[in-house]
Symmetry: C2
Subunit: 135 residues, 2 copies
């Protein structure tokens, strides 16, 4: 790798860091202020809405999110405490937990989604970009 290439990559990383910091900070703050949930909570609700059945097992949910298993466990616990999801035992595998959106969860997500879109629109431009070389 040439020095020029290295420097380009470092610049790229700094841009990425700057962009992520700005957006995630603004997003977290906006969601917290307007809806009382953080970014992780919103992401979790979002995955549940995306799921056709609005019901996912913890393990599947964890696979979609950039959170450790323990962090997800606590995130879902917070959502349950807030009445936005319900945790129920899986009939077919009694180790697993099914997470289901409640009506309140659906509504909260719908409202928070508007905030999210607004914040993202304010900070990002739409062109899609292949940022990652390797997973």
């Amino acid at each position: 790798m040439s020095d020029a290439g290295e420097e380009a990559i470092v610049r790229r990383w700094r841009d990425l860091l700057a962009c992520y910091s700005t957006v995630s900070c603004a997003l977290d703050r906006a969601l917290q202020d307007a809806h009382g949930i953080g970014m992780s909570e919103f992401e979790a609700l979002d995955r549940l809405v995306d799921a056709t059945c609005e019901q996912r097992r913890m393990h599947d949910l964890a696979g979609d999110m950039y959170l450790s298993q323990s962090a997800l466990s606590r995130t879902v616990a917070r959502l349950e405490r807030a009445g936005l999801v319900e945790r129920t035992m899986c009939a077919d595998d009694r180790r697993a937990i099914s997470v289901t959106l409640t009506e309140a969860g659906r509504e909260r997500h719908a409202q928070a989604r508007r905030t999210q879109r607004a914040v993202l629109a304010e900070h990002l431009v739409p062109e899609p970009v292949p940022v990652r070389a390797n997973a």
Copy 2:
């Protein structure tokens, strides 16, 4: 904003999140394992090396990094405890603190930088990208 535009932005955000999570996690782990410092510590050392005098006031340092004032204060405290920087009072403003690289700090940074470059090269492609629309 059209729905298509909104979706493009959300896709963009997800890509950004994915990329940031992957890279920052790998980077933090590599730096911690190989050199005993985290990403924030490395960033701070990096700013100090960039500075021609290798000496910055806390306030200036904070401006360059995506850390709160208190987080920077503790980051520098960790670096000082590790013997990588020194904190000295500013003569001209006795509220301010000057942060200076030690010889050990310079060496540690030089080594850590190789690790950083390697991790970034592994995960990022070099093309620069205008990710942010607004600060």
